[in-house]
Amino acid sequence: MGDRAIDCTGLTRHFASGTALDGLTIDVERGEVLALLGPNGAGKTTTMRLLDGVLRPHGGTATVLDLDPWSDGDRLRARTGVLTENAGLDDRFTALENLQLMAELRGIDRREARTKGGELLERFGMGDRADVKVQGFSTGQRKRVALARALLHDPDLLFLDEPTSGLDPAATRDVVDLIGSLAAEHGRTVVLCTHFLGEAGKLANRMAVLFSGRLHAFGTPTSLAADLWRGSEVRLDLGGPPPDALLPALAALDEVVQAVPTPGGALVRVTGRAAIPAVVATAVATGAPVHGVDAHRPTLEDVYFEIEARSLAAAAAAGGTGEPAITAPVAAPR
């Protein structure tokens, strides 16, 4: 058994409306949470369907849980659990009936399916609604039931497609916490398709950023940030614009890459954290009132939007349509 849960190379899929996925090459370690990020139409759901053997590719190869998704699809799907974007529950059945029927279709004995379904609903805070028809459920309740359904057969790999779309903040937090705990169980691998950066930041070990079917970045947020921006960023809180002498003085320091004014002080890009004392000392020496220093670590959002901005800029430079351009992906080792 290999260390990788997913290994795909050059995965490509076209539809009548255009190319949904163009040469995707990624790998996912066992027990890892990978976030597939990108706007609507980026190719995230297509990737998920291809990797679960539901769609066939027009190019490329893939191995998922050591199986070929297209020749061994049923064996693979017996080991994967999927939460589709629209929970996919039948309104005419109760929550427990929805789970029970799916469990039976997966080969679980009827009585065991009922017991297991009841336990999962209980665990996901839906125990008191188990025998209620799904028709009146909120989006959050549906997602919980669908998540429970995805776990009925204790899958090795979970595909979660937009698990928090349509949820209010409280329900989002609950579902993100649930997914976090699911990923931690038994070294389960999770592929999370989302356009919400918050949940990806909380849950994912690595992220793959897709725009218009092309992979634009792949790696951990930290390694991607290091690849996008050299050094660190320091925000100086001066309580107002910087004095005239400050920026040239900072720029003269060897460790400073760039210094720009901000309404509340200055933003200084330095070669590393070791340069921060020198930056502060220079500010004090020029008479700037230093109220605070924030050594800023790029967030997932910073990384994502920087990748998007660079893609758009490259597209504009290439005379594109405003869609992110086809550029070599930012790749960073794990």
Binding site: V54, L55, N86, G88, R92, E104
Partner: protein, 271 residues
């Protein structure tokens, strides 16, 4: 290489799921109950009452149709002819609308309805082969169509025999012709309706579209079937059996082609 057998467990669970869902849907149960009620309960009751009152003279009508077709009815005593003509012959082809209509309604729900309710994708991610999924869905349309037809006929036979007892003084239904209609033609017509509606449902995104598009195809077929089958039934059992065989042949051809085009890939690319 031998094709693996259909997974009966999958088919059984899927059938339970689809039939359970249909029975819980008033929008499906109502039309499936209403037509058989009118055709198989109210119609025989009215004919029985009319025959009791001896108010209709069918001999003039029989005189207008070819001898070959009127001969089987003219063999009965005059006071039985109305009952025999309508309940023994004319209702039989009309009755075929029941399996056709029920299979059209259920097929549009089990195929296009899955897309509309957004439950299809969940099914596609199950470890079930394309063929097992197709067979399950097909049976989900076929079983209710045949069940409603057979149940309807039992009701029809009981009511007809009971209401017409004062005229007939015997149990006159089922006849050989009716046996052919129920056991041979009705399932064939249900399979034909399925073959058409499954193909229609695979191309549309909701049940309404499926039923609208299906109506354009199914209704003309109904009219054709009614017109042709009444003549065939009067012509005798061998001709009715042959007509059934022809319908089965078309239905099987349609469903085999449907099975070939029902693939995960095709379904998923239209989600």
């Amino acid at each position: 290489m031998r094709t693996p057998a259909v997974d009966r467990r999958v088919v059984r669970v899927m059938l339970r799921r689809d039939l359970g869902a249909i029975l819980r849907s008033k929008a499906l149960v109502l039309p499936m109950a209403l037509l058989p009620l009118i055709l198989l309960v109210l119609l025989p009751a009215s004919i029985g009452l009319a025959a009791n009152g001896n108010t209709l003279d069918v001999d003039r009508f029989l005189a207008m149709i070819p001898d070959r077709l009127s001969a089987p009815i003219l063999g009965y005593p005059p006071h039985e002819r109305l009952v025999i003509m309508v309940l023994g012959y004319l209702v039989a082809p009309l009755f075929l609308i029941v399996p056709l209509m029920v299979s059209a309604v259920t097929a549009s729900d089990t195929f296009a309805g899955e897309k509309e309710r957004r439950t299809l994708e969940t099914l596609l991610h199950l470890p079930i082969s394309d063929r097992d999924l197709y067979v399950s869905k097909l049976l989900g349309g076929f079983v209710p169509a045949v069940a409603v037809s057979w149940l309807g006929f039992v009701l029809f036979a009981i009511i007809s025999n009971a209401v017409c007892w004062p005229v007939m003084h015997r149990i006159f239904l089922p006849t050989w012709l009716w046996a052919i209609v129920i056991l041979w033609l009705a399932p064939a017509v249900a399979a034909l309706g399925l073959g058409i509606m499954v193909r229609v449902s695979m191309r549309v995104s909701n049940t309404q579209e499926a039923q609208q598009l299906g109506g354009a195809v199914v209704l003309p077929l109904v009219i054709l079937a009614v017109g042709q089958t009444s003549t065939l039934l009067l012509a005798g059992p061998p001709t009715a059996l042959a007509a059934g065989a022809a319908i089965w042949a078309v239905a099987i051809a349609l469903n085999v082609r449907g099975a070939a085009s029902f693939t995960r890939e095709r379904m998923a690319s239209r989600l």
